[in-house]
Amino acid sequence: MSILDFTVVVGVVSFVAGLLGSLTGLGGGVVLVPLLTILFHVDIRYAIGASLVSVIATSSGAAAAYVKEGFSNIRIGMFLEIATTFGALCGAFLATRIPTSALTLIFGFVLLYSAYLSRKPRLAAQRSLPPDPLATRLRMNGHFPDAGGMRQYNVQHVPTGFSLMFGAGALSGLLGIGSGAVKVLAMDQAMRIPFKVSTTTSNFMIGVTAAASAGVYLSRGYVDPGLAMPVMLGVLAGSLLGTRILVKAETKSLRLVFSVVILVLGLQMLYKGFLGKI
């Protein structure tokens, strides 16, 4: 394939991944690496480098739109970023040391987990939980706009959330993804932060987390300009369009389709990883 054809095709695929990722809220980064390695036979290290860069672009590009809605909580985000950035740094160093077949296997498991999580019914809305002393000291409790005016929420289980966030950061650094799935697990399930607050705050955190491992990837030569260019531009354009039409679109069936895609890609990655054919 010539460089021109390759750039155009990868750009279009990345655009679709970014669009679907933002429409379904499942993130485009998680399908990019398997698509690049399975469809285009790109070495997984180049794919991870390009995906990581695109993750920074989508997170930062969408931040302005999310902030306007008034859901994100900058203190929760900043505190948990201590855990995610440390994790990302560890993950990135680990990525340069473990064999690519192991990376592929881990990627497969993360995809299966994301597919499972996307089918799982959302946790019921948080009902007035008592304030947690640690979360209160850390000034994490906040308000968010709801149908009946401003609603208050009290954050729970800070240490559990913090440890899970370290894991999310490590996966992000290891695989070049936003690891939104683990972040939702930490914020939604463990810390009992309302869904809208946790998704928007997590989006805010993804860019910073990815920036922590980007330096390591760049210096190790994982970021190829010829590959990262169409991926970054495509995903960015797709996700920006996605946030624009999000309000009007019917996403339920789209979510189902996308989670099946994630499931199939996950199985493919496991198969490839087990055979060591990567």
């Binding site: 306007k68 201590i82 920036a211 330096g215 760049l218």
Partner: protein, 141 residues
């Protein structure tokens, strides 16, 4: 059963989210978007130069070779931009992109300092140090 008596959570003595937060977040959100659009523009210009010169060569990413040092370090990238190389420009745009969230963290320090929230100034400084260590300690400086 304390929950029976507590239909609404008790308000904490410190207001959990001061009013300044909203303004800070909006400013930071706009900063991020500007950074991303700027870096996308640089990448796009680099893409045009790169594609004009190399469009008909074969694309091959099957075997990992690692990038040459001109695309792996900041001085190397700047040198290749000066030589008018398209891929150098793309890498420069990507460096801007990586710098964008780091700038956001740096600005947050100022924001928390204005609110006199020294605890969060401390947390944010830790995050910034990890980011700078990753960027400079990994040898791309």
């Amino acid at each position: 059963m304390p929950s029976l008596k507590l239909p609404q959570p008790a308000t904490s003595p410190i207001p959990p989210q001061p009013w300044g937060d909203r303004r800070l977040e909006v400013t930071l959100g706009n900063l991020l978007r500007t950074g991303v659009l700027l870096s996308a523009a640089v990448v796009l210009v680099g893409a045009c130069v790169y594609l004009r010169r190399h469009a008909h060569e074969a694309a091959d990413y099957r075997v990992f070779q690692g990038e040459p040092s001109e695309f792996r370090t900041i001085p190397g990238v700047i040198r290749s931009v000066i030589h008018g190389r398209g891929r150098g420009l793309i890498q420069l745009g990507l460096l801007f992109l990586i710098a964008t969230p780091i700038a956001r963290v740096a600005f947050s320090i100022a924001g928390f300092a204005i609110e006199r929230d020294w605890m969060y100034v401390g947390f944010t400084v830790i995050v910034l140090l990890v980011l700078l260590y990753s960027l400079l300690g990994s040898g791309i400086g």
